[in-house]
Symmetry: C2
Subunit: 144 residues, 2 copies
């Protein structure tokens, strides 16, 4: 298995509402058959009805637990960008679960959940090089 991810699909209650949230954050998507695709660097972030997604995976969906067990991170280039983006997210309807603050790994980050409870950490992490095209590189740790 090559070491890469092609798409991340977030199950949502209402595709239009979820799309509007991400577009208010500045993203632009395309909708086809009630599915929204956002090009996100070399991968795609997809919004699809949670019921359809579970059925498509042949997984029985129970009551949501409040925490999906998965988080996404979006790294930015400064502490000020963290503050700005968390404030913007809150303004367009996100729930800020952890206000921006210094982190244990020597960075600065905050966390919000989108309208369906999917968690995003917005992070300034000087230890993880962030290229001009937005790709990140995992550094060589002392004892890998």
């Amino acid at each position: 298995m090559e070491q890469r991810v092609s798409l991340i699909t977030l199950g949502v209650a209402d595709v239009r509402r979820a799309r509007a949230f991400y577009e208010r954050l500045g993203w632009h998507g395309q909708e086809v058959e009630e599915t929204v695709f956002f090009q996100a660097g070399g991968i795609a972030l997809v919004l699809w009805g949670r019921d359809k997604l579970a059925r498509d995976c042949a997984i029985t969906d129970g009551p949501a637990s409040g925490f999906s067990g998965v988080t996404l991170a979006h790294n930015v280039r400064s502490e000020a960008e963290v503050d700005d983006l968390i404030a913007t997210a809150e303004r367009v309807g996100a729930t800020v679960t952890r206000p921006p603050a210094e982190t244990f790994y020597g960075g600065y980050a905050g966390v919000f959940t989108d309208l369906d409870g999917h968690a995003w950490e917005i992070a300034y992490n000087p230890g993880f090089p962030l290229a001009a095209d937005g790709s990140i590189t995992v550094p060589e740790f002392p004892a890998g």
Copy 2:
């Protein structure tokens, strides 16, 4: 907010066991402070204790519902690769929830869940160009 994702963190019950699963699939990670980082194209896939991840996000974790509401997809270049990868995943402990078959979008795909229930669709999708470096491009749909 730039249209990109930096990291995907999967909450797991046992970091070593989860790392071993992904390494049996052919991935190579680095572990630091009980966290495993895999470079995956321009992003990182991270394994971290589910309890720590929830706490770090300041989200209360309830009982897992069986479906996280999030799926990852890994696109490959042929139907045969789908078959091979799903078979490999099953051999190293994954649960195949949907055996490989033709899909409604004109491709061929199967789905497995990893040891912690995180769902991966392994897909051959001729409609989504897959570059040599593994990045994908969302096509222009007729009515975006």
